[in-house]
């Protein structure tokens, strides 16, 4: 040690430990993880990246009796493109999504949003399945899943079912997942040709929670007319908000600036932000409108120019 000073530390005593006590199991298979969840239900939590669960446990806001670590189940991670859909394993880390060029090319909306998700250290650990299951209202990926019309496969020890992204998020930090279920696959439909994507977000600092964020996918026909728009918000309600119907006025027409302004106003009317000490509800709604205009224009340009 420097200057010959050797720090002397004693092991932490139990009273100084951050999380409440729990039993830890490093699951080695999905079957084992699901069997444990079936046995313990709400008393058990799956531990994936831990970038939201561990802070909650350090504050003792979450005190699971059993922690089922799924990081050792390698089958749960990976990106598998197959024809009309791409299947993404829930344990796929943000870092892996960011570094897969083929994936970024197929889903530029996700690629553009990833740098907004926290910081490099968090993205090295955080997972797509953990993010979606946590369902933070300010989180980017739930809104993107809604915009992309993703489907989720959820599984118990005995059966599985599919849930549309639009039905999955039922409230702040609340999903359609039952106590014995795990999100085991994210299915992303292939993006149509002549589609431009744009993700924009305003946060107080880089990587911070969104004051408002918007995900847009605009598809143009062969004559340049708008044939479809997907529009979803994060950070302005208890769940991601699908505001695609606000863009109905664009469908069938060459997108015009005046229509885009009207669409942004219609989208603003579809959200009910909660406001906070950092941003009033009015400010959030204002930001949502400004971002919608910009993102619609950018997505349209990218659809036209082919990138």
């Amino acid at each position: 040690m420097l200057n010959g000073i050797v720090p002397h530390f004693i092991p932490l005593d139990a009273s100084a430990m951050k999380p409440a006590p729990f039993k830890y199991v490093a699951a080695t298979s999905l079957a084992q993880a699901l069997a444990l969840k079936a046995e313990y239900g709400d008393d058990a939590k799956f531990l994936a990246g831990g970038q939201s669960l561990m802070p909650a446990m350090n504050f003792r806001l979450a005190q699971p009796a059993i922690l089922i670590d799924i990081n050792g189940i390698e089958d749960l991670a990976g990106i598998h493109p197959s024809g009309a859909t791409t299947r993404v394993g829930p344990l796929t880390r943000y870092r892996a999504l960011q570094r897969d060029e083929a994936f970024a090319g197929m889903f530029p909306l996700i690629d553009e949003a990833l740098p907004h998700i926290a910081h490099p250290q968090i993205r090295n650990r955080g997972t797509i399945g953990g993010n979606l299951s946590h369902a933070d209202p300010a989180s980017e990926l739930p809104a993107i899943a809604v915009a992309l019309r993703a489907r989720f496969r959820v599984q118990t020890a005995k059966q599985e079912r599919w849930v549309e992204a639009s039905d999955f998020f039922v409230g702040a930090l609340t999903t359609d997942l039952k106590p014995d279920e795990m999100l085991v696959e994210i299915e992303l439909p292939r993006v149509k040709p002549r589609t431009g994507a744009c993700f924009m977000e305003i946060a107080r600092r880089r990587g911070d929670f969104a004051i408002a964020g918007v995900a847009v996918m605009t598809t143009l026909g062969e004559r340049g007319e708008c044939t479809g728009v997907r529009l979803a918000f994060c950070g302005v309600g208890e769940t991601p908000i699908d505001a695609s119907s606000a863009a109905d006025a664009l469908i069938g027409h060459q997108p015009a600036q005046t229509t885009i302004i009207d669409v942004a106003k219609a989208a603003q009317a579809m959200i009910d932000p909660g406001g906070s000490v950092h941003a009033t509800a009015d400010y959030q709604r204002h930001i949502a409108g400004v971002l919608t205009e910009r993102a619609l224009r950018t997505a349209q340009r990218r659809a036209r120019d082919g990138h």
């Binding site: 932490l12 039993k23 830890y24 561990m54 926290a118 910081h119 490099p120 250290q121």
Partner: protein, 160 residues
């Protein structure tokens, strides 16, 4: 509830350790209190400040957001491993010293671990890329400008 103990084996800066630990022990506390490697600092302990950043199998992570038991069979690097055996500073440490990239020094170990891994992947970063790489590490003394200068100077020196 009975205390849930686990036996773990891991390596830190190339040294192997075997310990019996409680499941709820954070990796950051394990490194400081069980291994007496106090160079890894803990600030917020909920993943915001970045002071506890270490390398897990070469990648920067928050050690306060991992359990020690999760590090079983993994390779860790901490700030103690940056200088060489003769005590010669890593080029980034030297540059931080020369450019006054620290004042109180509390955030420094986390910044050093974050940026050494960053420079391994990107040897000629732009200033914007450096600021993005630093975005997960809070520093309340420097205003970051001197840290950015130090990182750019270190990158320059490491390229030779």
């Amino acid at each position: 509830m009975d205390i849930d103990f686990h036996d773990i084996t891991l390596s830190v800066n190339g040294t192997k350790y075997q310990r019996r630990i409680e499941s709820r022990l954070l990796l950051s506390d394990f490194i400081r209190h069980d291994l007496a490697l106090a160079g890894t600092h803990v600030g917020c302990e909920h993943g915001v400040c970045g002071a506890c950043t270490i390398l897990l199998d070469g990648q920067p992570v928050r050690s306060c957001l991992m359990l020690a038991v999760q590090a079983n069979h993994h390779e860790l690097s901490t700030v103690e491993g940056l200088a060489d055996k003769a005590g010669e500073y890593h080029p980034l440490q030297q540059a931080m010293h020369e450019h006054h990239g620290l004042q109180c020094g509390y955030c420094t170990p986390g910044i050093l671990m974050t940026i050494t891994a960053f420079l391994d992947e990107n040897s000629s970063p732009s200033e914007d890329e450096v600021r993005e790489a630093l975005s997960g590490n809070l520093c309340r003394c420097t205003g970051y400008q001197n840290i950015v200068d130090a990182v750019l100077a270190a990158a320059d020196r490491m390229r030779g």
